[in-house]
Symmetry: C2
Subunit: 367 residues, 2 copies
């Protein structure tokens, strides 16, 4: 993930930059901090595809007013255990967080609770929201409709579905929580861009051309579609995640989903569904955590392939990296840094880089 | 799916055979009918891997007493919106149905409800249980831990996870309901057996050898492991489904899962998690169904690949086939018929075949 072109940035400096920028664009400072926390956590965790690499498009959408910097988020309808939330076209990081806070509050009395959200926006990595449930001894869920239609229905030759992401988080005891956070394609489209830039073929199973035929040519792939994982199964899965995320709330689904990067006229009306499953009604929380710890340890202790040093649980590497990078800093790609600085320049905001930060230089001097 | 060796059997005749057999093995007749309904529905839907092909192992387990023919299913613990159910080692079809009935009853007042199950058994196709919610205008969920550990944790060289299945069912209006029902591998292990029998290689991505190395050799694959879909993602998904199915209830997970076909000493303690999400608290049911219908029609109307005649939603083909086969009969493989007749012979129960049933003969005479 890191390369010689990466530059180290301290998490606090990245946070300061993002908050300053969001405030310049009219976001209240407390909310700017909440939004930034999720973005920086993605980069801390190594999930760079959902970290500050998205910041320039967010700023662009704030600039043209197609994100609402000061949303009035409302609960449209609610019961003791459910709610429909309208995000008022606010940033997805803020809206989805509010939704999860509401689900947790509703679940606090021991009921499963779900909040369906509409009029939200791209919300970055889903795991962040699912894991909010952990401190409350609940299993957390987050489903979201993707902000770009990359995927053709199975047999189709037209991108009409997102690569819809979802997350499930389980608390554990002495072990790290288990956090699934995935979308429905084998590889993010960004990797196709990288292959095209290098003139390298892409693996089979990643993409089709514009007629829906399998291709390993990255240029044809960029005119075509992202393939879902395992073909028809991944199509069924992304359809399901998309329907969960939108049908209860009235978020945009399928043909009605606009393009995060190409359409600056229509708000996206992104939908989420977040939920909690409190543990205590089912089993004493300590016993649940003992069960989790045993399952985790059994998996980690499994006989390994000769070339494999350690088995990881879902989300384990990300959580470990997060702890490590809080100390060591976040390696960001040179291109990302340049873009952030360019975006910041117009507002007099610059991103402070770590002293002696070139990793390439550090490796050269043997550190 | 059909071949010249298939024999047509009427659904009613298949039902009569299964009920008679279960009753001979001590299952009460009303419960035998419920169990059979789910198995026959799988064959009607073309999901033969989870239909009566499993009947011989079920009978064998009833014979040796490792299935409880007359379980006393109990609710161990419950609240208004949750329950833990103990299946008393009854057949999974019965226990999981009772759990879903309970979830639906709890959801009837408009709350999301979940029932976690332990001491159950192999329950066939999950979609059957999820779709029970549809008539009640609820979204239905069913998660189950698989009854055989075929899958190695990612990087592992030891099968310690099931190919865990799950289902989500959405009601629609004029269109057919959308029913996702999938497990976490690209291909069922049964397909590897078929390839081995034919001496044909298997596709890349299906299996590893016993050291966890990818292989296309079906013989090596049978000594090895089933690969999850999309590698680490499928591993994360099957781990998640397994944890959902067992951690709340105390069902067996990972290393504690015994083998459906090889272990006749220890009850399997299979876990399920079933749940409902009632629609009315979120949105008028008619409006929800209009949203679903629009989404479904948009997908079905998408531009198609030149070689594709129709786009199907998840579960659509299965539901159509079910209607068709109720009239035309169920084509069962010759080997399956032979096995059912052999199992039945010892009990004086025979499966009536449809008159003039050999499909091969019919094709020969031009019908």
């Amino acid at each position: 993930m890191n390369s010689d072109n990466d530059t180290l940035v301290a998490a606090d400096d990245l946070t300061a930059y993002c908050v300053a920028m969001l405030v310049k664009l009219g976001v209240p400072s407390d909310e700017a901090l909440l939004i930034t926390d999720q973005l920086v956590e993605a980069d801390l965790s190594g999930v760079h595809s959902h970290g500050v690499v998205r910041f320039p498009i967010y700023i662009r959408r704030l600039e043209v007013g197609i994100f609402n910097a000061r949303p009035h988020i409302t609960i449209v309808r609610q019961t003791r255990t459910t709610a429909v939330m309208d995000g008022d076209n606010g940033m997805g990081q803020l809206v989805c967080r509010r939704a999860m806070e509401l689900a947790i509050a509703k679940g606090a009395e021991g009921d499963p609770a779900w909040v369906a959200v509409r009029n939200s926006n791209h919300n970055g990595a889903e795991g962040y929201f699912a894991q909010m449930a952990l401190a409350h001894d609940m299993i957390g869920f987050c489903f979201t409709v993707g902000g770009i239609n990359h995927v053709a229905p199975w047999g189709g030759a037209e991108a009409m579905l997102g690569n819809n992401p979802f997350a499930v988080a389980f608390p554990a005891g002495e072990e790290l929580p288990v956090i699934l956070d995935m979308a429905c394609s084998p590889a993010a489209r960004g990797k196709v861009n990288v292959a095209a830039a290098r003139g390298e073929p892409i693996p089979e199973g990643w993409c089709t051309d514009s007629e829906g035929r399998p291709t390993t040519d990255p240029y044809e792939a960029l005119k075509g579609f992202v393939l879902p994982i395992a073909g028809a199964k991944g199509y069924a899965l992304t359809t399901t995640i998309g329907m969960l995320s939108t049908m209860l709330s009235g978020g945009a689904f399928g043909r009605d989903v606009t393009h995060l990067y190409d359409d600056f006229k229509r708000p996206q009306n992104i939908g989420h569904l977040v939920g909690v499953l409190p543990i205590a009604p089912f089993v004493e929380v300590d016993e649940f955590k003992r069960r989790m710890d045993k399952g985790i340890r059994d998996i980690k202790g499994v006989r390994r392939r000769p070339d494999v040093a350690e088995i990881f649980l879902p989300g384990e590497r990300e959580q470990r990296l997060l702890i490590e990078r809080r100390k060591s800093g976040i390696p960001l790609a040179g291109g990302t840094i340049d873009e952030l600085q360019a975006v910041g320049a117009g507002y007099g905001v610059s991103l402070r880089l770590a002293a002696d930060a070139r990793q390439g230089a550090c490796s050269d001097c043997g550190e």
